[in-house]
Symmetry: C2
Subunit: 414 residues, 2 copies
């Protein structure tokens, strides 16, 4: 790592006054690394290794099949869903953990299309998170006359029409960080008879999400980003209570049955949110997610949002001189109300710069074609981290470390 | 536990001559328990806790996002699929690990229906594993004019007709243990233009499965039964190489894209088996599965099959006097070629008997309405286990332990 002076008084003061500072010590962060990629894979809570050791050795190893009841593995999807509900302004009966975000989006899009009768358009942004678009393509292929249409963000509300069955949007854009006004889009869609599925992957756990307050009807989200559930942690889905009885999952597996262990020959969906479960859930990954959600629930969510704002404001302010001197362009909205926790900068050499930064111990990530994405995580990123990260980037640019042959020629596979 | 004498010489000799006896010590089995439910949740390999500790602390905790490449998390679905391929007579390029068995069955049924043009019937057994039937119902609901039809096992081959798109069968029946002649069904179906999806959940890892030798085209299977991958371990799916380019997954998530990290706006499926991946896989659960599959690959598969036969033969023979004296009826086929590794007995008080057995340290399971299922696992069940389990059951029946009020009134929720 590049040697750096101590952060100035103002930065140390910000850390000293941070009500969430104590939570940083609850994560196992590797020494010598400033991790600004928690929006891609959240850090490891200290409690997780021991929780998983117990799950593996004591529960699976010791109690074997009896663990499904004795340790309530069978209740884990609803129980953890109920905890995540507290993070996103939902009722416990409206959220369940299952499968991956892509699979959950598939369930909700198919259910929404069916509930919408003759309406046959799935509307989204052209630049939405690609897998959400791919899943929409897959769904469109299953229904005659169904189409996926896109409209740029600025024109999206106007594009919600009489043929729109469902709008699918990422609450915070994975690349630019642009945040939708959820209440407003829901209101426009409702007036025009369309449903909206929100992907909360880049917002929940970092910035305020209020599904009830914004009258959201459908949502999915990711367990392994700001929720810190571990690599590929199971996803969650939300269906507003008033809609649940009208929404049928096409993935009608036994865990979504009204009586999974009755082994009845005909499928009868559970009455509540459990109808969106499908197969047997991956318990080890689920329990890692639960440990992380429990930790997040210890934090005051208003403090989390305030810190997300303060960290990203600091990052944008500290980066301003580098934008001017080294050709970075801020592509994230300037107002916090319009963005998430991460901040993105375009630069023609973003890929090589990102690699050089990582080599110097500052982990952000690159998104094609030219974006450097830096994601502070309010639970464990300090103000000093931001200050040091920008100083390191400054040195990378000043010393042209990114222009070393090994960065220029490295394959783009991250 | 009920005190028992030592097993007779013949049983001790069988254990002494067991070429797989050394593998038992590679599992963490709870003391004082005879576990005959590995067909529901396989036992814990001793190597798993340390592998998961490394995955959690060193990989996730230490290397964070870099682990996707550095520890080849990204290659895990194909890598583990390639290992499972060795257990089921497939090529490494024909198997991938992903999602749950139910989700994988959904992918293959939809892909098969689409590949089959005007044929619109999914044919199965009325008494097939319920979740497979539920998933078939879900698929049928997506296609106009599509129907799920059932035919009893004895009439199934004759029921494969010109309208049959795909037959879905469990290679070994979850309850009765009846084994299909896979090569024969595949041959009949092929002659009549139908595809067959095999569910290998109750066969792979215990009895011989030869997908190539029996010219199978499509299969799914479970990671947490005989494969010992842990509770809710991810599932695998198989598509014969010659079919892969014609089969499209409706769950077109980014991991199945030809270039997942290019973030292209349009879905382009991967050329090979990877096109059946969907979302980000649950890495912790995946790596537990890999550890268990690695252990199974240390065993000679012919010895595994021979031991499955010998254990189940011993169980049937030892149970014969109890059938006569205490009203058990063997519902599993008598010839090994016609059954799997587990053995099932009908009894009017099967539920209470199962509970009493468990209380006495012998863990089998109950399947509605009246079946006691005992599942030896060739990798860790000994011949002495079988002998002791039957002696314990004999005492349960002789002392009418099952008739104690707490067993009679216990709710049926296992």
């Amino acid at each position: 790592m590049i040697p750096l002076p101590d952060p100035p008084e103002s930065i140390r003061l910000a850390d000293g006054n941070d009500p969430l500072a104590g939570l940083r010590g609850r994560f196992l962060l590797p020494p010598g690394v400033i991790y600004l990629d928690g929006n891609s894979l959240g850090a490891l809570p200290k409690a997780t290794p021991e929780r998983l050791r117990r799950a593996i050795e004591d529960e699976w190893g010791g109690d074997l099949i009896a663990s499904w009841n004795k340790h309530d593995w069978i209740g884990a999807p609803a129980r953890i869903g109920g905890k995540i509900a507290q993070l996103i302004g939902a009722k416990p009966s409206e959220v369940v953990v299952a499968d991956s975000t892509s699979v959950n989006l598939f369930k909700l899009l198919v259910a929404a299309l069916r509930a919408q009768g003759d309406r046959r358009v799935i509307l989204t942004e052209p630049d939405n998170f690609p897998t959400d678009g791919y899943i929409a393509e897959g769904v469109v292929g299953l229904f005659d006359g169904c189409a996926r249409k896109t409209a740029p963000a600025a024109e999206l509300e106007a594009a919600i029409g009489d043929d729109t069955a469902v709008v699918v949007l990422t609450h915070v854009h994975y690349k630019t960080g642009q945040r939708w006004d959820m209440a407003r889009v829901n209101e426009v869609a409702r007036r025009r008879g369309a449903l909206v599925v929100w992907d909360l992957s880049h917002s929940a756990g970092a910035i305020p999400v209020d599904l009830a307050g914004s009258r959201a009807e459908l949502a999915v989200g990711c367990g392994y980003k700001y929720l810190n559930g571990g690599p590929g942690a199971p996803s969650y889905l939300y269906v507003a209570e008033r809609l649940q009885s009208q929404m049928a999952s096409p993935l009608s597996g036994w865990m979504g049955h009204a009586a999974p262990f009755a082994f009845e020959p005909v499928y009868q969906p559970a009455t509540g949110i459990d109808r969106f479960l499908c197969g047997t859930p991956p318990i080890l990954s689920l329990l890692a997610l639960e440990t992380a959600v429990d930790l997040m629930l210890e934090a005051d969510l208003a403090a989390v949002a305030a810190k997300a704002e303060a960290l990203s404001e600091l990052l944008i302010a500290e980066m301003a001189p580098l934008c001017a001197a080294h050709g970075f362009t801020l592509i994230t909205p300037r107002r916090f109300a319009d963005r998430g926790a991460h901040v993105a900068f375009a630069h023609p050499h973003a890929y090589e710069i990102c690699q050089a930064l990582i080599a110097e111990g500052v982990v952000g990530d690159f998104r094609a074609p030219d974006v450097l994405r830096l994601g502070p995580a309010p639970l464990y990123t300090s103000f000093s981290d931001i200050w040091r990260a920008v100083r390191t980037l400054e040195q990378v640019m000043r010393l042209r470390l990114w222009d070393r042959p090994d960065y220029r020629t490295r394959a783009r596979v991250t």
